[in-house]
């Protein structure tokens, strides 16, 4: 089966043209083929770089969008606002959150940031007041020093208190 040059791909046409046209001394078929392959590799690299640039641009745009968007307006269920809790407990193996918004069950699991060692969890909360505690290793219930306030729980202990506004919890 034969192909006319116009039926072939652009790279093949270039290769044939180079082989046929190259009558200069020292310019053999091997060098012509290598030149075309180099061109094709360069073109592939450019395409890949263009895709990577586009992907990076998209990620930056999305990241900025999340950052600039008002707290809670991105993924929070209706009527709630996403609130991130941070807790420093370098020796803990497990950190959980329990509060009025979890029926006081320690169901919200913190994850440890590998670089900083800070534990974080994000939970959707309705605007208003919430009391909570941080549970260390499933046993120790401790207040959060970053809470708005610490309040008497009536049982002789202390709860953490935050008030979630329409823009979330402002932390300086």
């Amino acid at each position: 089966m034969t192909h006319e040059p116009e039926q072939l791909g652009a790279a093949h046409r270039d290769l044939i043209r180079l082989v046929l046209d190259d009558d200069r001394p020292g310019r053999g078929v091997d060098r012509a083929v290598m030149a075309v392959l180099r061109d094709r590799q360069r073109a592939r690299r450019w395409r890949m770089q263009a895709w990577l640039a586009a992907a990076a641009g998209l990620m930056v745009t999305l990241g900025l969008g999340v950052w600039l968007w008002p707290d809670g307006a991105t993924e929070a269920p209706s009527g709630t606002i996403l609130v991130q809790f941070e807790f420093t407990a370098p020796d803990a193996e497990r950190v959980q959150l329990a509060g009025s918004f979890t029926a006081w069950q320690p169901t919200a699991e913190f994850t440890r940031h590998p670089a900083t060692g800070v534990w974080r969890v994000t939970v959707p909360l309705a605007p208003g007041e919430h009391e909570y505690l941080v549970v260390l290793d499933g046993a120790r219930w401790v207040p959060d020093p970053a809470a708005h306030a610490l309040v008497d729980d009536g049982f002789g202990q202390t709860n953490s208190l935050i008030v979630v506004g329409p823009r979330g919890v402002v932390r300086s």
């Binding site: 605007p127 729980d153 002789g156 300086s172």
Partner: protein, 228 residues
Amino acid sequence: MMWHWLLAAALLSGPMAAQDPAARLRAAGATPEYIQQVTAEFAEAARDGLPVEPLVRKALEGWAKRDRVPVERVVTVLAQVRTRLTEGRELARGAGVSTPPDALVTAAGEALGRGLSTDDVRELVRAAPTAPEAATGLMVAASLAAQGLERAAAVRLVHDQMASRADGQSMLELPSALADVLARGVPMSDIARQILAGGGLPGGIGGPPPGVPPRGGPPITPPGRGSR
């Protein structure tokens, strides 16, 4: 206005609140004995026409802390909550809300539990344009006081916010705003002084209504920051 109704709805009519209290306690793993003891308090509250939700939340908390809190203590605390709810309802009625909604009764009871006086509660209920806004105002004032703000300043800040009617939602932002000002190093005593002078929080939140001049007092500038 709509915001406050939505808040009250979120607090009182959520999916959890809609469930039977005993079922919620069972779901949390409470024993039948525990449920029996605390539901007796729920029944008392319901019989008196009081909201049951604050008691259910406290009972769930007591169960979660059962390693350190005996059930007798939980029952005592529930009775105290019930007493405060009764007092809160009477205060709301005395302040002109003939049939206070559950959210207002709850907020009034909790505000009393956090140290607001009966006069504070009455004043805020009277100042609020609506019952839901009174509930939000009481909750915020109690939270501000829990943050360490002088009680009179906490009430004044919320009172001014209600009077300004600029944005009902912004009342809920006051605790965050206060924490932010404190984090910038402004002493609590200075913050209270500015609020009581009618200047609101440093940074401009919670000031007097538009057109009402502040009653004097020097401006507060956070350390290391110039005025804009």
